[in-house]
């Protein structure tokens, strides 16, 4: 069984993002970039499945500009066997990514696709479900536990009410929650080895997909600032303020 893992390059989760003064977007120059955090969980899960003998190959794929390749290289250092980089510049909407990934799935014929449940930049939470729809595959979103059965996956999903267990047919798309596993760190020898693993580059334009965005981002602005608060000296003062000043208790 082959597993495809999709990874996205985003602004590092520890960076406090800043809005550009002209309102056209977010400042990305000289900003630390990393793999989208739940995509790391997706890589980890795929590699673990391969290590358990249930998969033969893990292919890491990304869609994005030249430097997006770094996220594939990291996945290779964590245990993926080879990489695919679909080159495209500018904003790529989840629907477009799903269409691109569908092409890759048709070419590579994996039985499972793993990816993070949401990217922490656009916070869309769409790509996995869209890919599942386009392939007419089952979907296991927000997964915090995955167990491979004979022809199905048993998946525990994190939902608003608590936890939900589903049995989904293979082939399937799994979108990963941060609690799915504890991603490993890449060791230095594995980072060196990853440099020799192949990454195939494909131009998105060559895939015959309309990649033009359908959503026009008119402006990006900072959210309204909260007015600065005060420090209280004691619990008694806090309760008094909540009761008499804020009038919330």
């Amino acid at each position: 069984m082959k597993i495809l893992v999709a990874v996205k390059r985003v602004i590092d989760y520890n960076v406090q993002v800043r809005v550009k003064e002209d309102g056209t977007g977010i400042v990305t120059e000289n900003i630390k970039m990393s793999t989208n955090p739940p995509d790391d969980n997706a890589v980890e899960e795929a590699v673990k499945i391969k290590e358990s003998g249930k998969a033969t190959e893990v292919i890491a794929v990304t869609v994005g500009e030249e430097k997006a390749q770094e996220t594939v290289r990291k996945a290779l250092a964590l245990g993926a066997d080879r990489g695919i980089h679909i080159k495209v510049n500018g904003i790529v909407e989840p629907l477009t990514v799903a269409k691109i990934l569908k092409k890759i799935v048709e070419k590579e014929q994996p039985q499972l696709v793993f990816m993070g449940k949401q990217a922490i930049d656009d916070d869309c939470n769409q790509t996995g479900q869209m890919l599942a729809a386009l392939l007419n595959w089952s979907q296991a979103t927000f997964a915090s536990k995955v167990e491979i059965k004979d022809k199905t996956l048993e998946v525990i999903r994190e939902v608003d009410e608590g936890l939900e267990t589903l049995e989904v047919n293979i082939p399937s798309i799994v979108t990963c929650d941060l609690r799915l596993n504890e991603p490993r760190y890449a060791s230095l020898p594995n980072i060196m080895k990853a440099k020799k693993k192949p990454i195939e580059q494909i131009n998105a334009d060559d895939l015959g997909i309309d990649i033009k965005p359908r959503i026009n981002q008119i402006k990006v602005e900072e959210p309204p600032k909260r007015k600065s608060g005060i420090k209280v000296a004691s619990v008694a003062e806090l309760v008094q303020k909540l009761k008499n000043e804020a009038k919330v208790i």
Partner: protein, 317 residues
């Protein structure tokens, strides 16, 4: 230019966030039809029909719709969507699960998690964990939209008498099976719409110590939340998580205890009306957004807090 809005329910009762979505949808179009798909869910269809903003209820019964599996609901929604300009649901784990599946089959670039309607095709949505607000305009002729429920008031529920139309269920692809759902039962208000929320973080040190939080929650009739760190550490179950990938809450009062205030946590609570932070680290980022900050050891402060609350003659419920 009418709206097909997908109701969330448990086959017995409507989930309240559907009402928030209805209110948001009414800012896009006044012609709102609500799909109630479920198993023996006639009661829910009737409940929705009394919402004055709803013009028509589409009621579809099938055991295949009982547990709202995305694979099973999608063919029905896609078929019904032919006659509608807007497909709308709430941006919680219910709507997030099936809406992109619907959108992809309709070849629509979905707009997720909107917090404001500027015009029928232009909306505001938070990006980067709410650290920026993007105004976006959709150019698709048909639109798939999910709505952040806490950014809109719930629609009133009495006085309406919408027509209920029966809709035939349609074939399902048989791709997935529901096994079970473990719901956390609680006497306290639901986290998503509680007036007061008190949350604990890694500073609590153990699951057992959440009893200090629970005692205050009971006194204030508050819901209990948690940071991801607390959930990851196993102190409390995932349905309590507040943050970028957990729940977004906008209570009148949010009390953060032993939570340092990572960007990802702030994303889930910084729109709260009043924020209180209790933390022993005076430099913790949570203080920068708190209306009232108390630099103190929570193990001393929480029992004192309860004591002070007990001294009050009245507490708003």
């Amino acid at each position: 230019m009418s709206v097909l809005l997908i109701a969330e329910h448990d086959n017995e009762k409507l989930k309240v966030f559907t009402l928030n979505a209805i209110n948001a949808a009414s800012q896009i179009s006044k012609e709102i039809h609500v799909l109630v798909a479920g198993d023996n869910c006639e009661k829910v269809a009737k409940e929705v029909s009394t919402v004055p903003l709803v013009k028509k209820v589409l009621h579809s019964d099938s055991k295949n719709y009982k547990n709202y599996l995305a694979e099973n609901l999608t063919p029905l929604i896609v078929k019904l969507a032919e006659k509608y300009s807007y497909i709308i649901a709430s941006a919680n784990t219910f709507g997030k699960n099936f809406m992109p599946r619907v959108a992809a089959l309709l070849d629509i670039s979905q707009v997720s998690d909107i917090i404001k309607v500027i015009s029928p095709d232009t909306y505001v949505r938070p990006i980067y964990a709410g650290n920026a607000f993007a105004t976006v305009k959709s150019s698709d002729s048909k639109k798939c939209i999910t709505i952040r429920p806490t950014s809109f008031e719930p629609a009133p529920t009495t006085g309406g008498s919408a027509l209920i139309e029966k809709v035939e269920s349609i074939g399902i692809p048989n791709l997935s099976k529901f096994v079970k759902r473990e719901e956390t039962k609680s006497e306290r208000p639901e986290l998503g719409n509680a007036r007061i929320v008190i949350s604990g973080g890694r500073g609590l040190g153990s699951g057992d110590n959440f009893k200090l939080i629970n005692a205050i929650a009971d006194k204030l009739n508050a819901a209990v939340g948690a940071s991801r760190a607390a959930v990851d550490a196993g102190y409390i179950s995932n349905d309590h998580q507040v943050g970028q990938t957990g729940k977004v809450v906008v209570p009148d009062l949010y009390i953060a205890v032993g939570i340092s205030g990572a960007i990802q946590h702030l994303a889930g609570m910084k729109e709260s009306k009043i924020i209180v932070a209790i933390n022993k680290d005076g430099e913790a980022p949570i203080f920068s957004i708190a209306d009232y900050g108390l630099e103190a050891d929570l193990f001393e402060a929480l029992p004192q807090f309860l004591e002070e609350l007990n001294k009050l003659n009245t507490i708003q419920k």
